[in-house]
Amino acid sequence: MATAKEMELIKRLQDAVINYKVADAKKTAEEAVAAGVDAYTVTMEGLAGGMEVVSQKFDTHEYFVPETLLCAKALYAALDVLKPHIKVQAGGARGQVVLGVMQGDVHDLGKNLIKAIFEASGWTVHDLGRDVPLQKFVEEQLKTDSDIVMLSAMMTTSMVGIKKLIPMIKEKNPKVKIMIGGAPITEKTVEEYGADTTADNAPNALREAMKMLETLRKGKAA
């Protein structure tokens, strides 16, 4: 059970993320480290808890992209301080994803929001950036044994690379799940390109990823 001090720090971290107070977030994280509280607990309950509220506000159109980006900025300011003190194995509680924007495409706003929300929720994110060569996705998935590969494309010209890439990934690892997203992507694209799912925003991407991870882990347990 969290101590009174932990509870106070968690609440302050949540507030700092929700109200995008970057300096407050960093200062509270430093206090948490100095106080010797469990960094994983305050990260998950403070930062992830705050980001969950941000996701709800984004879903209900109380927050939009600028506000959400600023919340992520506050989150990272605290996470940078707490991360070296977190004692969990990579990919432990949640899963691992490889994430990137398709070759020929530099629109990485959505990808970056997804990264923030996933990291806040305890996922390990291997972010390949934008304009990523197809082979790089395959190599990174194999290297990290990630559960999910998430591909982003904002243009039809970059979207077509997904059709080529999915068989390349599945050939090396048939069990890996593929999520695709971006303006031109629809359920039809998912079906036609052989992906597993899509999502139209970052919170929905997290929900879809949780579902896929559950399926994967059930498969492993069976």
């Binding site: 939009f64 600028p66 506000e67 530099v106 934008r130 243009m155 039809t156 010209t157 694209t189």
Partner: protein, 352 residues
């Protein structure tokens, strides 16, 4: 009713009257480079205006659509303001986000008012409009295109930093936007002078996808009003483009009072296309909303026809509708699919 010219057809529907048939304008913009027989990079550079004019004119003959939209790509304005742009041979030109023109808040001061007629790429668009207008200005709708200042500035700063600056450093952003808006106003006027019947202003961030209504109003409301009032004052029509989700039609009406909006999704205050038609159909004409990726690009002929038929059934009554893709026709999609859209308008969109 005798057959109208394309221009009459478009003008009639924008007055919320029924023309001979639903006009079709599948926003074949960048894809025209393939008709002109030049690479996408050559097309976008603006070095060969004759090829750009030829691409659009031959496109009209080949596909049969009712209007030309003078969008080259979204980097035109940013490039002229100083942003480094990359021109792939087979892909849309884009800003080099590793080298943004605005690297620090102080760099916003570097944005200066330009004379569009003395720039490289805006000038090439003006020349292209003039070339097209000379040939088909009396028969076809010619729509100019201006990417809104919020969009242009985000290309020069990088979208993430720009969006955060809107909240964290508005005092740095606003003067730069004002200098840019002065230029875009002159650019829009020059497009009308070159022969555009309408100017389409892309206010992409006026949607739930990106900004709150309050933030959008603060940064783009007054400038879009001035630009749109000026266009109307010149006797041209005002159109907007927005392919974001949940577009603020109420804000668009309040600040731009457009004749039409080219859009891919419904307004933020309705649920579904029927409701959109009922609420907004008599106030702002719809140019749309065929999904570019799944239908125009990946759709089978039957799927394209079904989509067009369904949209015409919902939207054609009383005019105020141009059948089009919800965003630019995919530059790499089969051109025959654009012709199928026009054919569907002829088959299912005849007013009796």
């Amino acid at each position: 009713m005798s057959e109208m010219t394309s221009l009459e057809r478009v003008a009639t529907t924008l007055q919320f009257k029924e023309p001979d048939r639903v006009p079709a304008a599948p926003l074949v913009c960048g894809a025209s480079h393939r008709i002109a027989g030049v690479s996408y990079g050559e097309w976008s550079s603006g070095d060969d205006v004759d090829a750009m004019v030829r691409g659009h004119l031959d496109g009209l003959k080949l596909l049969g659509h009712d209007g030309v939209v003078a969008l080259v790509d979204l980097s035109v304005e940013a490039h002229d303001f100083g942003q480094e742009v990359i021109f792939p041979e087979m892909n849309t030109a884009y800003p080099n986000y590793d080298n943004p023109f605005i690297k620090t808040l102080d760099d916003y001061k570097k944005i200066e008012r330009l004379n569009p007629k003395k720039t490289k790429r805006m000038k090439s668009v003006l020349d292209m409009i003039a070339g097209i207008a000379k040939e088909v200005g009396k028969t076809h709708a010619i729509v100019g295109f201006v990417y809104g200042s919020l969009g242009v500035m985000s290309m020069m700063r990088g979208p993430e930093k720009f969006f955060m600056d809107l909240i964290e450093a508005p005092e740095a952003v606003l003067p730069a936007l004002q200098a840019m808006d002065e230029t875009l106003l002159e650019y829009a006027k020059a497009q009308v002078e070159a022969g555009a019947h309408s100017v389409c202003y892309d206010h992409l961030y006026c949607s739930q996808s990106i900004l709150s209504k309050e933030l959008w109003e603060k940064f783009e409301g007054p400038s879009i009003k001035r630009l749109c009032d000026t266009i109307r004052g010149m006797g041209a029509l005002v159109s907007l483009h927005n392919c974001g989700n949940g577009i603020y039609f109420d804000m668009s009406l309040k600040w731009a009072n457009p004749h039409a909006i080219s859009h891919a999704y419904v307004a933020d205050d309705v649920d579904g296309w029927e409701e959109h038609k009922a609420k907004w159909g008599g106030k702002i004409a719809t140019i749309g909303w065929i999904p570019p990726g799944p239908v125009a690009m990946l759709g089978t002929p039957d799927e394209i026809e079904e989509e067009c038929k369904a949209e015409i059934e919902i939207f054609s009554k009383g005019g105020g509708f141009i059948l089009a893709t919800g965003c630019e026709y995919p530059p790499n999609a089969p051109l025959l699919n654009a012709r199928r859209i026009v054919e569907a308008a002829k088959k299912y969109g005849v007013y009796r």
